[in-house]
């Protein structure tokens, strides 16, 4: 019984710790996602600005490959933000037409890679005619994530250990209480008041039933019949 109780307390402490860890990890993931979104929103805005230009031009019949001024625009935008590695303007098959980094022209990098934000360029008929792909320095993300992780673990670790220990402490207290209650329960003299009074009444009744004479004078009960 003691082993079961101790085992149970340990399991409960593990559950408590695991759930704090779970909560902390999921909070971290939530914040990490939010952080990535906030960072990428910036690059999205950059991509959107270029895409809007390209779309306006496309609506005037200037096709994407013919929009040579986009290269200047991409270079200008890429220069503005040191965390941007390159801005590519690709055609609908992901081949780079213009880029802030001239070495990338003609490459086909395929779809979305990590550390990139892309925005489709659509023509007036909402068909995708190309993409603006902003590649940014993953270190930006990593720095923020490390900071988030630091801030969270600084509190989550103590909370986790605390939760486990508190559970153990409360469990031991409760187990101790239960053990004492069990030991007392083995001895009717130490039973809880309700049980004791029940016992007393029952024993009085038993005594009366077994030996009515002894109690006849003590109350009217025995004489009722």
């Amino acid at each position: 019984m003691i082993r079961i109780s101790l085992g149970l307390i340990l399991v409960f402490a593990l559950i408590a710790a695991a759930c704090v860890a779970f909560g902390a990890y999921f909070s971290y993931v939530t914040l990490q996602t939010a952080h990535r979104k906030a960072i990428e929103a910036r690059f999205n805005v950059t991509a959107a600005r270029i895409a809007v230009s390209a779309e306006t031009a496309a609506s005037l019949g200037i096709t994407l490959p013919a929009q040579a001024p986009l290269a200047d625009l991409a270079r200008r935008e890429a220069r503005l933000d040191p965390t941007i590695i390159s801005i590519d303007i690709t055609d609908e098959r992901n081949r780079v037409l213009f880029s802030s980094d001239p070495d990338r022209i003609g490459r086909a990098d395929g779809a979305r890679a990590p550390g990139t934000v892309s925005r489709a360029v659509e023509n007036d008929l909402a068909a995708v005619i190309g993409r603006i792909v902003v590649r940014y320095d993953p270190a930006t993300l990593a720095q923020g994530e490390a900071a988030l992780a630091r801030d969270l673990t600084a509190i989550a670790m103590p909370a986790l250990i605390g939760a486990g220990l508190a559970t153990i402490a409360i469990g031991l207290l409760l187990a101790n209480g239960l053990g004492r209650a069990a030991r007392r329960a083995a001895d009717p003299a130490l039973w809880p008041p309700a049980a004791r009074s029940a016992l007393a009444e029952a024993e009085a009744a038993h005594a009366a039933a077994i030996n009515p004479a002894a109690l006849a004078s003590t109350g009217p009960k025995g004489e009722r019949t």
Partner: protein, 660 residues
């Protein structure tokens, strides 16, 4: 006194609340330190880009005061970036060359100033961007709500794990000890028959109680021998009061036994919810010619349809197989289906795997429900069904965020393997915790005539059509269809709408067990069902006042509250009414009940879409709400007419109920 198990459950809840609050605090400071600057950086980026564009124009030869289209450009920026409240291009001598937006009400809002400089380095103008602090703080706020929700999920998962441990047979001895100690502390001196083998701590207590019982029997014999009826009456009165001569069967575990297995299994299905549409959409190749929207919804529709259609036949099947076998078989089918979903890239095969997962899901659902109904005594059936409902609701709350993270880390396909693992875990837990199946070999399937007879059972038709159907209809139409559509039209993000929609399940998880407890205790199931229907339905009337998110939240809260009151008592009443079916077979009636409920599920969005087009959001919701109110009133009316005829019912029902 509080037992070790209950006490430690409460302790864990309290300890976790404190620990999670600490994490929330940590998250808050992390957000302030890392994410808020990231949001602000966006304004700087916009500022730099706009300044560069103007510099470019000036370099190209456009004089600064002849710039064309500055207002339109700034307007576009302001529209594209919600957190920018005001953009202004000002020359050093204070002339405004371009302006968009309105300054925020805040007295000292954060601003970002970017200077526009000529190639020669001479400052030409400044672009002053004012950030709306309200937008930033509402983004932070939304994030913290998400973190709080994660905390709630962790807590619920912890409590489910605790329940799993507490329900495990290894703790039986502890449960037995606690039962004895608790009985003594209440002055109950009955004998206990629960623990299979007596532990050293239990034996002396039982010995004491047994001796007392012996003495009691002895005293009774003595009195009987003497013909002392007075003493006999006294003894029996005392026996009744203190449980002498009585044998206590121990607590009923039917519902608690199934809870962890059901929770795990339901989690498996709920995991897929956040990424299923996206996955389906990505899998549908253009040559299928069905369109992305349809491709995204098709797997869900197929799943729901198969589950609905399986209710009736599976109710019978599970009864024949036995509950444990039904559960295990269903979980196995579902687990294999999840593996199939994880492996296939083919849209058609994916649909098939969803359909077979639905078959497994339906079989598990029906078996678990049948298990609870079979093994709970009528007076505790509502509470037992509440545990059943709660397991599903908690899984519904915990599954999606976990699934979302899994999909994010492992990819959508691999996340389905997570579902498979959970389904297998559910299967194992069910196999080891559920009682051995006792398949019914006798009865035949449920025929139409049985169902007709079932509908003839007292108030059953009124209950099904007046309460069960409108309840699901209301939930799906308002909470899952009209509210998201309306809020989306109002310009709220999917995430914000999702947070609002959480009100319903959270209230359900909290409210269902409480309501069930009181419904059983007060023996007022019908009243709870009626009240729940009235509250849930009439809540929609608030929408006539306005459709702001606060009012919508209130409507959803009333919906959750109302349905928390009614859902378990309703199932319990159906199960009870099922006893009136000739042959005492409950399966068909329960199947019918779920089928009708799910009809409400299926018709809700369509009807809501139609009403929305015809009447608009507020009127459509109110109409549907009034439909639910009318149903509840109709149900209440059948009660007043039948009360007399029914008065002998409960005892008859109970005796039939305990007989099974």
């Amino acid at each position: 006194m509080i037992g070790l198990r209950a006490g430690i459950s409460i302790a864990i809840a309290v300890v976790l609340c404190a620990a999670l609050a600490a994490i929330g605090f940590a998250a808050h400071s992390a957000v302030e330190r890392t994410i808020v600057p990231a949001i602000a950086a966006q304004a700087e980026s916009v500022g730099r880009s706009a300044a560069a564009l103007i510099e470019n124009a000036v370099t190209a030869g456009v004089p600064l005061d002849k710039l064309v289209g500055v207002n339109a450009y700034l307007d576009g920026l302001e529209r594209a970036n919600v957190e920018l409240a005001d953009l202004k291009l000002v020359t050093p001598d204070g002339r405004i060359l371009g302006h968009a937006g309105t300054p925020p009400a805040d007295p000292d809002p954060p601003t970002v100033i970017t200077s526009v400089t000529a190639r020669s380095g001479i400052p030409l103008a400044s672009l002053i961007i004012t950030i709306d602090p309200g937008v930033v703080s509402s983004q932070v706020h939304a994030l913290l709500v998400d973190v709080a929700f994660i905390g709630l999920v962790s807590l619920l998962v912890a409590l489910e794990l605790v329940a799993l441990v507490v329900g495990a047979s290894s703790t039986e001895a502890l449960a037995a000890l606690e039962a004895r100690v608790r009985a003594l502390s209440r002055g109950r001196l009955w004998l206990h028959t629960d623990a299979a083998e007596k532990s050293p701590l239990v034996m002396p207590i039982d010995a004491q109680v047994a001796r007392l019982h012996e003495r009691h029997a002895h005293a009774r014999e003595a009195a009987e021998r003497r013909g002392d009826t007075g003493a006999l009456v006294d003894l029996d009165a005392i026996g009744a009061r203190f449980g002498l001569g009585a044998v206590h069967a121990g607590e009923n575990h039917a519902a608690t036994i199934i809870r962890p297995a059901l929770f795990l299994f339901m989690m498996a299905e709920e995991l897929a919810r956040p990424f299923l549409p996206r996955l389906a959409g990505s899998m549908a190749t253009p040559d299928l010619n069905i369109g992305r929207d349809l491709a995204m919804s098709l797997p869900i529709v197929v799943f729901m349809a198969v589950v609905a259609l399986s209710q009736l036949p599976f109710a019978v099947l599970s009864e024949r197989l036995g509950r444990r076998r039904g559960f295990v078989l269903g979980a196995a089918i579902a687990a294999l289906s999840y593996v199939g979903s994880a492996l296939t890239d083919h849209f058609g095969l994916f649909l098939v795997s969803r359909a077979t997962a639905a078959i497994g899901y339906a079989l598990v659902f029906v078996s678990a429900q049948g298990h609870v109904v079979d093994l709970s005594r009528p007076q505790e059936r509502t509470a037992a069904l509440a545990v059943f409902v709660r397991a599903i609701m908690v899984a519904g709350l915990c599954g999606p965020p976990i699934g979302g993270v899994l999909a994010d880390r492992l990819g959508d396909h691999a996340a389905f393997l997570g579902s498979a693992v959970l389904a297998v875990l559910g299967l194992l837990v069910a196999y080891f915790t559920m009682p051995r199946s006792q398949p019914l070999t006798g009865g035949a399937g449920v025929g139409l005539s049985d169902l007709r007879a079932a509908l003839g059972a007292p108030r059953l038709a009124a209950l099904l059509l007046g309460c069960a159907l409108p309840a699901k209809f209301l939930l799906v139409a308002v909470c899952f269809y009209l509210v998201p559509v309306e809020l989306q039209n109002q310009g709220y993000s999917a995430a914000a709408i999702g947070r609002l929609q959480m009100i319903y399940p959270v209230l359900m998880v909290i409210g269902v067990p409480i309501a069930a407890h009181f419904a059983d205790r007060l023996n007022a199931r019908a009243a709870f069902v009626t009240a729940g229907g009235l509250i849930a339905g009439s809540g929609t009337l608030l929408l006539l006042v306005g459709t702001s998110p606060v009012i919508v939240a209130l409507v959803l809260a009333l919906l959750g509250l109302g349905q928390a009151l009614s859902i378990a008592p309703q199932s319990s009443m159906v199960a009870e009414a099922a006893r009136h079916v000739p042959g005492g077979r409950s399966a068909g009636v329960l199947g019918l009940f779920r089928l009708i409920e799910r009809t409400g599920n299926a018709t809700g969005p369509a009807a809501a879409g139609f009403l929305l087009a015809v009447a608009g959001f507020a009127s459509a919701s109110t109409l549907i709400g009034l439909f639910a109110v009318a149903g509840a009133l109709g149900f209440a009316l059948t009660g007043t007419g039948r009360r007399k005829a029914d008065s002998s019912g409960p005892t008859a029902l109970s005796s039939e109920g305990t007989a099974s």
